[in-house]
Symmetry: C2
């Protein structure tokens, strides 16, 4: 592990495990869910509120930040932590995924990707070397290798070719990253839903050697069954003494299934993005607060939830401010969703530590199957 | 005064005065600035944050709330305080001003105003009696009489006729309000910029008898000089032992000038609305954070300000999140502006109590004249 970093597994239950990643900026309890702070903010939240939900780490997006306000500007201003007023650890992605999904006029070569900004049309270049430089300018605690994630559907040959390129880029990322005490570098396994490619990718990454290992190229439209099919095996291809990070996952039931299969870290925009459109999660499943059934309901989203949204506001109020397009709707629902996600992670960690994960998971599914409370 | 209400002037300095309005829901330190919570929320703020800025009372808009979510619904849900999670006093306007400025297809008669909702086109009727009923349903602590505010420019005859109608409506409002212990009713002086009409209006209201007196029909486009011209005399037409409320004012220098002229209460959307468009106020005047001069500025908006925006974030960050249209820009700038307004009110109260208002006002204008800090 990089100087200042450590990972201790405290307990296992089946393939699931709980532990702590230690970093110079604080501890990350695993399994960990990382809220996404795309452009230097977890949308509709103040950073102290994100911390209050129990988040030990958040994710920043290299692609967005390099385009606006610019990584060199953030470096001059003291780095991303100071810029966005977040003192705990930050993981940054490499930009590789979003340059393929968001930018215009991409041109991919062995060297890297040339593209036009979706913000202002300006021309940019991302490669393993430039991505490492940008993430260094941001001051990220956990840096991700620059990789390629092929668009689905893709043929086996395309996935294999792309994985091989990502492994060459992983080697170049490792060399460009160098030795940076206090900063960790994670490799990213690719290979789609092909287990042989996944194993080959894991072997290539392990040979290079990283502080942690991500599983990329999932949660991109293949469906939960196919994703779990990969996760039944892929974590086992990776070193047990390093954190395993499943990128871009997911819904609460995706998270539970991933943790059962040995995943230590996850990130997703879902709790924050859904909050802004009136979708809330509770132990009873998803609630669409926009629905007219809530307009006279004096009860909170979840009577057992201790978040500011549930302790202070009725479903009727949330329905009203969402319909009236008031900013407080995004603020309260995002806070609730992030609180619920972190509460779920704490439940998973406690259950694994107690050796009671199977019971916890059964209870999780039973409560969701019962559905939301009946209308008033 | 209504049962449970009181107003004590603690000190005067020239025509300015400082004191306390006591209500069953808490004290209101005067001169008081009331943030506007139009539709059951001070936009982009949690209510505990509004309280943290030092606001003792906020204003709710009858027109907006009657249309969505509806006053009867709010009554069923326990009243506006509980609905929006605000425990301190609330003043509601009568709907009279906004029905003229926001609704469609108005028809004004002696009885009241028929109009179509700007939200969904539905037909509604507002009169002194229905306005009192709606404000009772909302559970407002300070209820405003239903009045008419003529659109500018208006001839003297139109203003005189409108003022006379408002005085008849004030009488009907008083009768419809009845005796409601714990709830106060304020009359509204009209008369445009005509001092004789203002004096006549004040005499009519005083004859009816109210718990407080508002000055309406100003800050509607007449300009600061004309407004101050009215305020040089109009407060003196009203009983000295009751609060005087200047409706819809204003910019910081409007507020200072109004307090100098004997005003005890004010409200305005400006600090919250401007926050959402990147306009901030500091003792050095107005700052447009959207301006490119701030993009590399590591300094806060105001180095002497103790609000969360100024203690945690640089101008460069605020510039970035505003440009990126992130919700946190509205959250931070609104918080700062409301904090600055309340800080200004505290300064005015302290200066009046110390008999040093003239020096405070001179300093206020000197600092503003110096302008914003030089670019980095």
């Amino acid at each position: 592990m990089a100087t200042g970093f450590g990972f201790q597994v405290a307990a296992s239950d089946g393939r699931a495990r709980t532990g702590v990643i230690t970093t110079p900026r604080g501890k990350i309890r695993t399994p960990a869910f990382m809220p996404v702070g795309t452009a230097g903010t977890v949308k509709a939240m103040l950073p102290e509120s994100v911390a209050a939900t129990g988040a030990d780490i958040l994710l920043g997006n290299t692609y967005h930040l390099m385009l606006r306000p610019g990584a060199e500007r953030i470096a001059r201003l003291g780095g991303l932590h100071r810029f966005m007023n977040w003192t705990r650890p930050i993981l940054t992605d490499s930009g590789g995924f979003q340059v393929m999904s968001l930018s215009d006029l991409r041109k991919l070569t062995e060297d890297g990707v040339t593209f036009r900004s979706h913000v202002d049309g300006s021309r940019h270049f991302l490669s393993p070397e430039t991505s490492m430089e940008i993430q260094r300018n941001l001051g990220s605690d956990i840096v991700m290798c620059f990789d390629e994630c092929p668009a689905l559907p893709a043929t086996g040959a395309v996935v294999a070719k792309s994985m091989a390129l990502s492994m060459r880029w992983a080697q170049r990322s490792r060399e460009a990253f160098g030795d940076r005490p206090g900063h960790a570098l994670f490799g990213i396994m690719q290979g789609g839903v092909n287990l042989a490619l996944r194993e080959e990718s894991a072997a290539a990454l392990t040979a290079i050697g990283f502080d942690g290992y991500a599983i990329g190229g999932l949660a991109v439209g293949e469906g939960q069954e196919a994703m779990f099919g990969v996760l039944d095996h892929a974590p086992g291809f990776l070193p047990a003494d390093r954190p395993r990070y499943l990128m871009g996952v997911g819904k609460p039931d995706d998270i539970v299934g991933a943790v059962e299969r040995g995943i230590d870290m996850m990130d997703c925009v879902l709790p924050s993005r859904s909050g802004r459109t009136g979708q809330a999660w509770t132990p009873r499943g998803q609630v669409n607060i926009k629905n007219a059934r809530h307009q006279d309901d004096p009860r909170p989203l979840d009577e057992n939830c201790s978040c500011p949204c549930c302790t202070g506001y009725s479903r009727a109020y949330l329905h009203h401010v969402l319909r009236a397009r008031e900013i407080i709707a995004s603020m309260l629902l995002t806070w609730h969703n992030l609180h619920y996600y972190q509460h779920l992670m704490q439940g998973l960690r406690d259950a694994i530590a107690a050796g009671q994960l199977a019971g916890f998971v059964a209870d999780f599914h039973t409560k969701r199957a019962a559905g939301d409370i009946a209308p008033v």
